[in-house]
Symmetry: C2
Subunit: 308 residues, 2 copies
């Protein structure tokens, strides 16, 4: 591949930024990768593992950069945007990787100077690990990366960013900011909250010991704990910043759950069977859309787990 951006600045050096760095490097898409993170430990790891140059401040890191990626928790976006704004090169493109878009646009856009394009983005990829050592070059392979440009976005700047993201393996789509936040409330944010809740409940049912929960956790619960192990700071900020959409979906969820709960209490097997049959069809659609494999792993990973 050819270099798309001579200098890329990564602000925040966790799972997403480190994976981007590994992937851009593997594909020769950036000539120089500059990084900044708040923690000196993180900066030292990034210097060793994936950055050409690491700066002590975000302001310094963005100087002369052609592409700036804001990869900090959503709650930190406004402060970072204010800090870097005076140091951005005219013609630079700023993007972010936050899971919520309206709140990020509100936090970042007012600070952006004329001549700089801000194109919000959301890579729908992750693992339950976080931090600068957790990144790997194939994280974005075959995963969606949603961009939420608006009518003021320069088409050429958008096209170039899309080429970069496709170059690191992602499938790119564009979407309206508000619609994005509703879609992710349904397919990601509310499921995460529910998984967190169930894992918390399991932990304080006193008649079942923690060792029993851990020992006998079957497929369903293992998947939940995997989800519930995600980064607490990131998820706190997601829920605080996508409040309206999440509360809307949560309301529907509890209504629906109460109907199923009532069917269990009343012994209405037909209702349960019909419901479970419908949800099975949705799963088939997801396999057909290529977002998952049909391998019967049920949370085990494709290979049988090693004996332990």
């Amino acid at each position: 591949m050819t270099v798309l951006y001579p200098r890329v600045a990564l602000i925040g050096l966790g799972l997403i930024a480190s994976s981007m760095a590994h992937a851009m490097r593997a594909n020769g898409l950036a000539a120089e990768i500059v990084g900044h993170a708040k923690s000196p430990e993180t900066r030292a790891i990034a210097r060793d593992l994936f950055c050409d140059r690491v700066c002590d401040t975000a302001a310094e890191a963005v100087q002369g950069a052609d592409l700036i990626v804001l990869a900090v928790p959503i709650g930190a976006m406004a402060a970072v945007a204010a800090e870097i704004a005076p140091h951005l090169k005219p013609g630079a493109v700023v993007t972010d990787v936050g899971s919520v878009k309206a709140a990020v646009v509100e936090a970042v856009a007012p600070h952006m100077p004329d001549g700089v394009q801000f194109i919000p983005g959301h890579p729908m990829a992750g693992t339950e690990y976080s931090g600068p050592r957790s990144g790997f070059a194939t994280l974005f392979q075959n995963r969606w990366w949603l961009l939420t440009p608006n009518e003021a976005t320069d088409p050429a700047a958008l096209a170039k960013l899309r080429t970069l993201l496709e170059g690191i393996g992602a499938k790119v789509d564009t979407m309206d900011v508000a619609h994005h936040d509703l879609v992710v409330a349904v397919v990601s944010h509310t499921p995460h909250l529910i998984a967190y809740t169930m894992v918390g409940v399991a932990d304080h049912v006193r008649r079942v010991s923690e060792s029993e929960i851990v020992q006998y956790s079957a497929a369903g619960f293992r998947d939940f704990t995997r989800i519930a192990a995600s980064d607490p700071t990131m998820w706190r900020d997601v829920f605080l910043n996508n409040k309206d959409a999440v509360l809307d979906i949560l309301g529907r969820f509890t209504e629906e759950l109460f109907v199923l709960q009532r069917a269990i209490r009343m012994g209405d097997g037909d209702h349960l069977h019909a419901y479970f049959t419908r949800t099975r069809a949705i799963r088939r659609g997801i396999i057909e859309a290529g977002q998952d494999t049909a391998a019967p792993d049920f949370g085990r990973g494709a290979e049988p787990p090693k004996a332990s």
Copy 2:
């Protein structure tokens, strides 16, 4: 290995029974595997794939069998037990593979003749596939198989059954019937119901199209749809037959969810962060207990998904 049971009869020939047949055959644990299923199609597949002999009735299948495995939906257990009872060989051992134990004991035990041991069992293994073609010999590798004997159970019969189950790869533990049903309500049944519910909600949020849900389903939701694709009949019977424990855990779940929902509404980030940090620790316990791997797959399978 040496033959433990000269003749094993499998009643019901779905995922669990077919996996048992493949595994017993691979390890030489049974000399003859006889099967019965209600559906003629299933019987034909079982004859081709994993049974030495297939019978048109359960009564015929159990004749002369040393071990009988009831692998039918929980709702069908009582009728099967009544049908086979007069045909059981003295000294035979009957076990089952239902996910709920009190209801199965109630359905089966009254029919068992003197001289026959009924030892209820529950393999904590599965995939989202069902039917006679879905079985594979390694399904039980490193998975728990819980047995719920009582004070009348013959220790020698129990020890032999345990040896068989360990011989097909399972880790075996024994547990009181009522306690079993509470443990699985926490680690399996309630998580399944919640996953079913969330997938159902996603399906009828009208502003988000089904294709968007399918296309953008991220890690959290993919795990849920995988769970929600499980066999509808089996799960209907689970909920109808483990009603009390599931309703108890569901009540705790909704209370807990409402507290988190309120924290989101009030913007209480500290509460959310503390909660998410606690759940992360539970996940670590599960990895350390060897029930899952630490590989960062997050529902992707251990290998990166193939491009599609």
